[in-house]
């Protein structure tokens, strides 16, 4: 059975912990391992931070919409901003020796590492959407 949980926050860093609390509840309810749950939490955290800072460019009145879709064997999280659109295709590889000591640029790399699927798209009504899927393993 598919279930959906949605929340929207203003683009303020103080609300990011609120999303983390919901993420924790969802992964615990679904029975993810402690390790997987903490990496999912980090991936969602990074996506929300990107939506606030790069998507909405810290405009506090712009919303970040987070939607958790739970299925028996997988969790899919959608994070949407309401900004001008964000293209992650041209991001440098943070593990490249030229970028290794960069102070930023690792968030999407962590998201792609810890989730089974990560896909960025443009929402038809504006803004960017990142869809991240994590399959449950035999834990």
């Amino acid at each position: 059975m598919t279930e959906t949980i949605e929340l929207s926050i203003n683009s303020k860093l103080e609300f990011v912990d609120l999303v983390a609390s919901v993420t924790k509840s969802v992964t615990a309810k679904m029975g993810f391992s402690e390790d997987d749950a903490s990496w999912i939490e980090l991936a969602v955290h990074e996506a929300v931070i990107n939506a606030i800072m790069h998507g909405n460019r810290n405009a506090a009145d712009k919303q970040v919409d987070v939607r958790f879709v739970t299925e028996e064997e997988a969790l899919t999280v959608y994070v949407r901003d309401h900004g001008a659109g964000f293209d992650p295709a041209h991001l440098p590889d943070p593990t490249d020796s030229d970028h290794l000591l960069n102070p930023s640029g690792r968030g999407i790399f962590y998201m792609r590492t810890f989730m089974d699927e990560v896909e960025h798209s443009i929402h038809p009504e504006g803004g960017s959407v990142v869809r991240m899927k994590k399959n449950k393993r035999g834990n």
Partner: protein
């Protein structure tokens, strides 16, 4: 966002910063940056970050560890890590930063390693 608590102490000429809490975007990262900057301004150039009680780190926190390392190097100092948690170890490994930092599990050995 929850705070990062930082306490400093001296062992020989090494400054040990005991970190507890979260190193995340915003306050946590800024607190770490300011603490390292303060030590360098005071002429303390051998800095050991004790991460044993750090409960959570995000990409910004990892970036701040990198910045602390490069800032200290640029000021003629050395910055090393003590008591990496498994999560921090994993995050550093994935982004190939493990080889950048000199890291220890034993404080005495860490202090002795500074030249």
């Amino acid at each position: 966002m929850a705070n990062l608590n930082i306490k400093d102490r001296q062992t020989n000429d090494v400054t040990i910063l005991d970190l507890s809490g979260k190193i995340t975007i915003g306050e946590g990262s800024v607190q770490l940056r300011e603490a390292v900057r303060r030590q360098l301004d005071e002429g303390h150039k051998k800095i050991l970050l004790n991460l044993g009680d750090v409960s959570y780190v995000d990409s910004s926190g990892i970036g701040e560890l990198v910045s602390s390392y490069t800032t200290t190097n640029h000021n003629g100092g050395q910055l090393k890590l003590l008591n990496q948690t498994k999560k921090i170890h994993d995050l550093l490994t994935i982004t190939k930063l493990l080889t950048v930092f000199e890291s220890f599990d034993n404080e005495e050995a860490a202090v002795a390693s500074f030249k």
